[in-house]
């Protein structure tokens, strides 16, 4: 199987079973957070994606329309991208994103992938997104008594001397 065929199969899986209507150009597909765990389980058990490759969380502040009485264009939210890889050729990477609001959490993948333990801890530590049912959601990089999450876009922007530049 070539990598293109594996990608087609992944796209077909997303469209048929996980309600993804469009695959964006130059980006990874956005999956509803309710399907997050089931998608990972299907990829692992049915299609042999055994390598837990990465999880990347990112923070997006609220977007306001300054010209239109600060109407909310987009609310403050997190995006979490996950990547799984199959062993051996073609080493296809199945990657998708989920979007959660500030008060929501993403289901942990720890029951499926042991590596989610540390990777999700790191993303929680640096970005602040919470992972539901994680067995040990402590900080990984920053000291335990650290306040705030450094990779958030609103981190330390109001200090007299910003940390960089």
């Amino acid at each position: 199987m070539t990598r293109d065929e594996a990608q087609e199969r992944f796209v077909a899986l997303l469209q048929e079973r996980f309600g993804v209507s469009e695959i964006p150009e130059g980006n990874y597909p956005l999956v509803d957070v309710a399907h997050h765990f089931e998608l990972a389980r299907a990829l692992r058990d049915e299609f042999g994606y055994r390598i837990y490759s990465f999880v990347v969380a990112s923070h997006y502040p609220a977007q306001l329309d300054a010209k239109n009485d600060n109407a909310v264009i987009d609310t403050e939210h997190y995006e979490v991208a996950t990547g799984l890889r199959c062993i051996g050729a073609p080493a296809h990477l199945a990657s998708w994103r989920v979007r959660v609001e500030l008060d929501q959490s993403v289901p942990t993948l720890f029951p499926l992938f042991a590596g989610a333990d540390w990777q999700e801890r790191e993303q929680y530590d640096l970005v602040g997104v919470r992972f539901a049912d994680h067995p040990d959601l402590r900080r990984l990089m920053m000291p335990e008594d650290w306040e705030g999450h450094p990779l958030r876009k609103d981190y330390a922007i109001e200090t007299a001397c910003p940390p960089w530049r």
């Binding site: 130059g26 055994r50 390598i51 062993i87 042991a114 990089m141 990779l151 940390p163």
Partner: protein, 393 residues
Amino acid sequence: MHSVTGVDPHLDIESYDPSADLMVLNLGPQHPSTHGVFRVKLYLDGEIIIKAVPYAGYLHRGVEKLCEELTFVQVIPIVDKNDYVSPMMNEQAIAMACEAMLGIEVPPRALYLRTIFAELQRLASHLLWLGTFGMDLGGALGGGASLFMYCFRERETVLGLFEEVTGCRFHYNTHAVGGNRHDITPRFTQDTKATLEVIEKRIDEYVEIFSSNGIYRDRTWGIGVLDGELASSLGITGPLARASGVDHDLRRDAPYHIYGELEVNVFTESAGDCFARTLVRLNEMRESIRIVREIIDSVPEGPILGMKPGKSPGHIKIDAGQGYSCLESPRGELGTYVIGGGNSRGASAYRLKIRSPSLHAASCIPYLFPGHTVSDAVAILGTLDPIMGEVDR
């Protein structure tokens, strides 16, 4: 408890046998065998470890936050310091991610140079691992420090080759988005061949040191057995996973640079213990020598930069989209996840995540340490080869 192993990394120490004589021992953060600054809190029942809790972050420098502020051109010398044992790989990972997202084609000569640099760097990195591992095992290898000295002698010659091309022994800043910045000379080609000749002979001598040493075998056979299934589940790749029978190598399975045109032999072992990890790395060193020899004479002529060199540090702009690209570093899958559209209309990343193989490797410590003694823990930590600059970033 995870299904594929009998070890519970989150063991509740309160529920452990109350009559046992427990002791807590901190391995690190300042300890030579931790290869950097890293702490493992060990719960001991007598001499046996029953639980290991690693604490990372002593070397956390906020590289990912820094990458959101600096432009893509400025990021390349910064990421050099992540995996400070193989800086070439870090540069290539960032450059490849930008090239993939912008659709920049890299000229063939630059691809050949990147492959040669990558394989020489793999050789240097494994040499450093071998030397420090000999030190970890202490007296097992003829006084410990002798193997360290031998390996550093060889590694120095490889760094000398890099110095000839880039002017730096370390932290080269030789890769740019779209190609390379420094070209090789005929003298480099000659020197490389001569150096490889010497190192190849020396590797045979090292194998002799290992195979004829009973103490070495006692300390590595059956120690720290990593299950292949658990390795994949933890996201462990590279020599560590291959020593556990996971037949996976991005150079062969998802070729980049010019690996698609080459025959890359992937070495696996089934035992998954410290001895198997040594064998896999020694074989990889020989394979790197073979690959460099195969291509060093056929480097095509031509430009080494595939785009017009920019005048400002902000000339590489990724205004939207997300992408991930990765390569096989000496420690496994080293990837970069880039979210475009950051400062100055995309001259820097909105979010840049470095997927470091060392962090995944370090995450298997809670599974491997329990059941072993403290001296075995040092041997296991040595063969995991985690580079703390890359674990913490």
